[in-house]
Symmetry: C2
């Protein structure tokens, strides 16, 4: 069975859950949480020197990391990775946008507001990140003004990549009602086969960090 | 002819120059520079709503953005995009790492130190970013301890993506001598066919922002 390392609160981990659920692939999940500093513990760094969740241990012992790369791998043979180099590059365009311009604003806002003991201490950073998050959502809305999906005419892993942190935008202090085309797009993603909501457990079984690593 | 929008100081723009040089494709370059706020001017946003350089205007009028997506597009038919889904996912893994964990540390350090009038005003941010940059270079060194290239046995667009900001790490206040395997890897990239050094002009002709946009 596949083994996914990460916590349910992570949107990047959720992307992997989404593609595995879509593919109907069973997996167990080892709890690794940023709030407890677990991605930087030596046992985990031996698995993923990048010090981030998610990581995915394959049955052959190989370890994959970076949610975008994992989405790509498991999209093989599905319509979520289109034919044609130019169409594929457009999928990757939105996936790189998500990792560089979207997630660092929305996810960090969400983390500072909800997962730090004194969010007020981070006010300068929150003030810097809010307009970045707005700018990212505006860029998404510009695309969705004339399209149903981010790349091409159908759903792709770009939509999967952009889904979790957009869905949780209210936790980032943003009002999704300001971007109506995004709300309609979220509903389209949620109607996809095998859809798994954020925070839902997709694993067949779960294991704690210490139990797995024997620490 | 292709038209590249961006400035020579941008490592992300340089990645596009590198792949076009490797492919022997002629292009003109329109100067669009972050220090002058040009990526957020309305004329440019009409071209790229993401408000970033590079952008690449194709001969059919299509616009591509996100350096990683452009590298992918132009790697078609070259050995820089390997065969096999698992090997390809490994290339993307390092490209997402570069955009999420490497570039935001190294490039922002470099920008604050060299392109802002009073770097001392950003000391808190510099102090936060330095360990992130070290961590990223350590993760790269961990890979290169047993390998010549980031993904698979040969050079790929992952190496092209990681090259510019690593090459310019001294401008980020980092001493590359601390990571000897990275220096050896940089030399291997520099021995690639059609290699173009950072800051070099690869364009057949250049046009200023106002001249191009008629502003």
């Amino acid at each position: 069975m596949l083994t996914l390392f990460g916590n349910l609160e992570s949107g990047n981990v959720h992307k992997v859950q989404m593609i595995l659920a879509r593919r109907g692939l069973a997996f167990r999940r080892v709890e690794v949480a940023q709030v407890r500093g677990e991605p930087r513990r030596p046992e985990y760094l031996a698995l993923n020197p990048m010090g981030k969740v998610p990581a995915l241990l394959l049955e052959d012992g190989d370890v994959m990391t970076e949610s975008g790369a994992i989405l790509y791998h498991f999209a093989e043979g599905t319509p979520l990775w289109p034919e044609g180099r130019r169409a594929q590059a457009e999928v990757l365009r939105w996936m790189f946008f998500e990792q560089y311009s979207h997630e660092p604003a929305l996810a960090v806002l969400r983390y500072l507001r909800n997962y730090t003991p004194e969010p007020v201490r981070h006010e300068a950073r929150l003030t810097e990140l809010r307009p970045r998050a707005h700018f990212a959502l505006n860029a998404m809305q510009a695309r969705l003004g004339g399209a149903s999906w981010f790349a091409g005419d159908g759903p792709s892993i770009a939509d999967y990549a952009l889904y979790p942190y957009t869905r949780m935008a209210n936790e980032s202090g943003l009002e999704l009602e300001e971007w109506p085309s995004l709300s309609r797009w979220l509903a389209r993603v949620e109607a996809q086969p095998g859809f798994l909501p954020v925070y839902a457990e997709g694993a067949a079984e779960t294991v704690g960090f210490d139990a797995y690593f024997g620490t």
